[in-house]
Symmetry: D2
Subunit: 490 residues, 4 copies
């Protein structure tokens, strides 16, 4: 039971959340390409807060601006947008694990190839990236980053095919894993989604100009129209002559990542015609049916548990109340105070709303438990605020397996559900009762009768261990730090 | 109808909110005085986001750190806290109007008086500050700031009384207006509240050490105990020998500012034994009774309208739904894009949750309307998302008069309700119906039978024009910029 | 013999030089007042490198910009100069001892007095500043800085005289010590020099606009004409109606600081009709006569010893050679390398020019010895470069007493000549012979027959112990840090 | 006569000087490798002030730190040096033309090759760099910089030879131009000098550890011993097993760049057993013989003309005097003042020492004239200070041809001597007489009987047009900006 040792987690309830590794945006032919891309990236900020970049092409030259930090900070000045000239732009927001948040890894990556420049932005993770990297270096390639995305640049650079699209296809045929790419040459905007469609990519349109992006909320923010989702295994090529669609892979059944629905996508994004908000309320309602509780109030963990808590409240008829208040003015970081102060267990980001929970039996609703370190603090906060009973309800199944497709999950031994029984987890978080949504319940909330064990409708290995592709690097990977011989000094 | 011209308001729904001018915190005798003060100020951050400062005393010398920006940024490093040595500390968070946000105005202010140093932090506004300032300058005083608070320092400096507390009382007897002061000498922590108790101040305690602060939420964050509210017209002096209470003014009936309840205080703060959250829910419930609407869903304007919307929903039985989604990743500022992009009416901080509002009749709930410029955009956003009917409900009365006691209100002619009838306001914001909570309804939500016209229980001039003190400066004030002959270059 | 312990001195031959505490500049009626002031301050940069400030008046308001660092950095942008509007400006460059280099001490200081604003810049030091400060604080004054200069502001603020000039004179009559003030009101530019004329101040003119500044080189840089020196004890008042001269003190014989000639003033500045360069060459020639040496080459310590070395060479007929090369690209600071590297005795700012000194008997010429720590390193460097004999010659007398008039001298016990005989000093620096210019020789180089013991022509207490004014604060001063109760956190 | 239009040149007498493009340093096996490299680069700072970098290897990983600015600023903190772990280090200082001073071009460049990492620093310029770059990109190479140096990395990366040294030799055999390389692998320090030895490289030693660097002054600063110069066309490989020398090119007669002697090298550096200072004095003496002048004083243009002026003075018997004073406190930049102020012709970096030149006939000595724009200002300054006659003497021949080997010369039409006769030049600079050192005179000052027209002893095309290698890129180069398709945004 040594899971709760990470002191800094005390200060950030989000410290125990999973991180998506990116959002992408591209637009073709619009006079305000860079400004619109910045706005689109701002709407995708929940997919990555560590860095952002935009590359544009002005008919003659490419322009690049890549920065650490939020889009609203990095691209906050007119002067920055003005430098990003041109009617074509692609952009990227990024989350990455500590140590690799270095400027040379910030996307879009760019290379000057024979025939012209090529920029690319990537959401996802390649499961044979390291293996390909080693082979290419043996063959004389020099890498500018430690990002797996650069493999794509190197493969395209080395292809001998005459047309660019042939070179691109030759490259993606060699890679494995999950990806939504948005790329740009001096003539084309290119989108590509992996054969299973694990990572999302949609096509939109503004003033007749095509847009490719991760979620519909990036279309909404600029008033763009949703056209359609890019299909799994599809490559779209957008140019002056219109939009071509290529299908370079054998046909497969789509299997999108279920975590987009539970967790990553913004509530107002629409996937397959239904809002994420509705799906999450449905998960809450399904949870109320599977694991009811006799309680006085429903209290969401803000903001992750709010839609599911509303669904739970409406299904159960128990009142929804804000038992936890969020402080919106949290700066970039905060003091690491003295040991004494640390022991106070200070809550910088949330506080209990005592008048709501005092003397009550409450149902506390969140969307997931990863390590459990934050959950136990929230339960404790509720008890200290006078809650008589705390029934903890999680609107997704227990996470038992790590991800290798672009979600930053901890090692398996740090996943609470991988090493604890349900009863042990209940004791760990200190709740009076604990329940998770079942896997079939999750699929039902998504509109299916249940999980199809033969052809599962979603990528759901975190709950089931059923990985949808081969994991080439995982087998051979010695240690992550060996990617680079160069220790970044700063 | 020229009210909607401010383009930048398009980007920030909070652009049309009133600003409180400060929060204060002081602690006496605690080994972690500076760290606890920083945490207390963080909990008070909603009272002022432009600057923060802390002054400590270490038994020999005072230490001061005053910075522009959020507490979590300004006091984020151990090294800063370590510089602030000592067991006594006072701190301040500040909002101020543009142009005066200069470092020399950031509080606590400090002066070296005969007999030792004196630091002071102030929430409120003096209505005879300019008049006193001119008299003192005529008498040879040199000011270091343009803050009205410095008048107190100068008056104390010039008093010929032998004991410090006598000098302090002589000073506050000369000032008029609203104030909650927290001051510190090399031996004492001092708190003072104006004769009507317009601004709040409470006494708490941690590990036996007294604390003075604006709201109970600043006690909760560090696990301190609430002791009592400082009374209107009371001066408390905290020293090694304990807590003394002085009453230097003739007794008056308390008349706290009603806006603290409606608007400024954090929902989890407790005033007079009841949580602000409960009071706001009650305002929403009262509003549902006064101005019901036949609608499908209740939609709060986040986050200001959430408690009242929950109260309205529970009282009316209509479901509460998140029809507006807030983007939590807004950076410091954001691009001012091209004219074309500006015309898109981009929503950087909020977006409509179309699935909730499309085809529905909705009740939109907010806590107030100031200029109305934001309200009309939110109504428009709801309509563009497909709302069939928009019934706008405001959980406080119309604001018709400016404040002079520490709330930054626009000039009277910019207050929508000061120049428009209810029907004109409805047309301006574009709602199908519009209703405000009545003044008596507001008092009822606060637990009274209604407003006592002879001895009103609250300071409520913004709704009624009934100012509780004389306005010495307002009469004689020529123009605000004449306070200083020095135009701050940076 | 513990004088050589300061390791950092190893890296900076200037670490052992005395520091002047300021240069001033003011101009009246010129459209480019701020730009010209910045240029004038740049020419005075040798008088203070730690901070610089400019205050202007535009007919309505004052504008102030005060910054740490060099003039060329602090005032390098057009935008800064553009903020400093108006045709009247005063400016200041400052050197100060560590710990007090805080922004609130950077001059010009400014105060809003009854009757209007007043800005002042000061070169010198008041010997009763602390005493006056304490009296004023007892009387209710609040100080904004720890600078002795602020005493002048407070005294002027409190004067009850009707005209500004009367208030100013009443103030300077109360102060003692050395000063050259340049002040500015909304109508006037004011210059004042102490009764003995210890610190310099000259009047110039450009395009018909009067200028007051510390040295003529600040006139030369902008092509201004030299008019005359301000006399000792004179106050000049410059306004639209011309230049008035006041003599508020009883007449005294001028006694300027001899260190300006030896050390501080720029070689191209003209004082009493003769260039500083000439005076220094003359000191070298006088030294060659007093203390000849049979040597192969004359080597100056750059850059302080160059003019005297040229004078010595021309008088002695021995060739002048650059035996020490200066590195002009020294950044702000430099690494403090490992212990091993430190032991190498690295010379970051100078290096020996081996081809000049190897196998030679050299005369090494410098303008002074303070602690002696640098001198011994330079002698050692010459020996390591192969010098056969090193005859060290100093073109001023031994420094035996500290200054209290604006020169930052170390405590008496750290002055090499205060605690060592000539032979002990020779041994300490490691030279084959050592000689200083005699006091009478110094006066002869200045054109006198020798020092008049009854009415010495110069302020020369550092060599003679003969202080020209009373030292009120020195007697009563307990400790410097008691000036302020506030420890500046940063 | 439109040469004098560049207004900013008015502010910087160095604005018209040529720029060297780099200095290199490498050390093998020393515990303080990074600190010593920083010190060595500091001593080489005159060879490049725009950026500096150091790469180290700690036995396991490489560490890199590359920054814009001076060495003393960029590597001023212990923390930076501490990050640069390991006993092997190479470093680089860089000057480059505007627009390319971007971080990705700062050296040493680094690449992770099959077999391990490789870092390289380069002084010089490749005359077929662009041609090779295009060929390599056609073959799939991706460049990380626009530096010609990267060609070497790419060539080494693609070599199929088994041993590293064979791969390195295969690479340098393909390049043309001038170079002194210092490279580093995980086992070796490598030095290489081009077949003609145009750029300098010397071998030194400290505590038994070999050092490679551009000039001996970088050895002196750390007390290292000079061993020998690396020969033209030599490759040295330093490893645990000692120092190997390779000679991969056919033997050629050395032909070092004459500009190192005239201009670039530090005066205290030793080349071929003689100090640069001596050589320059000799050039001045030779000039006095070739072009005597009947004058009162010799005035050097500081600091470039000082050694030649001393030589001229000693040969002619005319006194050497500092007629121009340099301001040492020039910040990074300085204000661009108003038009009026600009017309004053302000001298921020130098001023006339009037007492020296007034009424005199002077010989003004400098080391070269490039565009002539600064020279005319200096002559004008001397005249305005009262010089009766100005005889301008240049201690090198007229520059008539641009360089392509690492010196940043202006286009030919901007070189004053390329487009003006001697008499036209005299009129342009406004001197009473003007003379340059003859080419044969220059060779004589270098110890030769004169220039050998068949096998010139030095690379001297700037004076003679005799380029020592083929200029592959110059013929084919279209425009410099086509090197990169990516316009660096910041």
């Amino acid at each position: 039971m040594t899971l709760q040792t990470e002191a800094e987690a005390a200060f950030d309830p989000n410290a125990d959340r999973l991180r998506e590794e990116c959002g992408v945006f591209g637009i073709f032919g619009h006079a305000d390409a860079a400004a619109l891309t910045a706005l689109g990236l701002h709407a995708l900020q929940h997919r990555g807060q560590e860095a952002a970049g935009i590359v544009t092409f002005d008919g003659k030259r490419f322009h690049s601006e890549r920065r650490l930090g939020l889009v609203g900070d990095a691209f906050s000045e007119v002067s920055v947008i003005e430098k990003l000239k041109g009617k074509q732009a692609i952009g990227h927001v990024r989350y990455s694990t500590t140590g690799e948040t270095i400027l040379r890894n910030v996307q879009p990556l760019f290379a000057e190839l024979h025939g012209g420049g090529f920029a690319v932005a990537h959401n996802g993770n390649l499961t044979n990236g390291l293996t390909l990297r080693r082979n290419l270096v043996r063959d004389g390639a020099i890498y500018q980053s430690t990002s797996d995305t650069e493999v794509l640049l190197q493969l395209v650079a080395r292809s001998r095919k005459p047309r660019f699209i042939e070179r691109f296809v030759e490259a993606i045929r060699q890679i494995e894993g999950a990806y939504a790419f948005v790329g740009m040459t001096n003539k084309k905007l290119i989108g590509a989604r992996d054969p299973l469609g694990i990572r999302p990519l949609v096509l939109g349109e503004l003033d007749g100009c095509p847009i490719l992006t991760s979620e519909t909320c990036a279309l909404d923010i600029i008033g763009a129209k949703f056209v359609r989702e890019i299909e799994n295994g599809e490559v779209v090529v957008i140019s002056e002559s219109g939009i071509e669609s290529h299908k370079p892979f054998p046909p497969m059944v789509e299997r999108p990542c279920i975590f987009e629905y539970i967790y990553f996508a913004r509530p107002d994004s629409i996937v397959k015609g239904r809002s994420i908000y509705e799906r999450r309320k449905q998960m809450g309602a399904q949870l109320a049916a599977e694991a009811p509780a006799n309680a006085d109030v429903i209290v969401p963990v803000p903001d992750s548990g709010v839609p599911a808590a509303l669904g739970f409240a409406q299904a159960s008829g128990i009142p929804f109340e804000l038992g936890i208040i969020r402080n919106h003015y949290v700066g970039r970081t905060f003091i690491e105070p003295t040991q004494k102060v640390r022991e106070l267990g200070v809550r910088l980001k949330h506080s209990a709303n005592r008048s709501v929970v005092e003397g009550k039996s409450i149902v506390l609703v969140d969307d997931s438990i990863v390590r459990g370190t934050t959950s136990l603090k929230i339960v404790k906060m509720m008890r200290e605020a006078g809650a008589r009973e705390v029934h903890f309800r999680i609107s997704s199944p227990p996470i038992t397996h790590p991800d290798y497709y672009g979600i930053d999950t901890p090692d398996r031994e740090k996943l609470l559900a991988a090493t604890h029984s349900l009863e042990e987890m209940r004791q760990f978080v200190g709740a009076d009762s604990l329940a998770f949504l079942s896997v079939d319940g999750l699929y039902r909330a998504m509109g299916h009768a249940g999980r199809d064990p033969v052809r599962p409708q979603f990528t759901d290995h975190c709950f089931t261990g059923d990985y949808p592709t081969s994991l080439t690097d995982v087998v051979g990977e010695s240690a992550k730090q060996q990617i680079s011989l160069l220790a970044e000094a700063g």
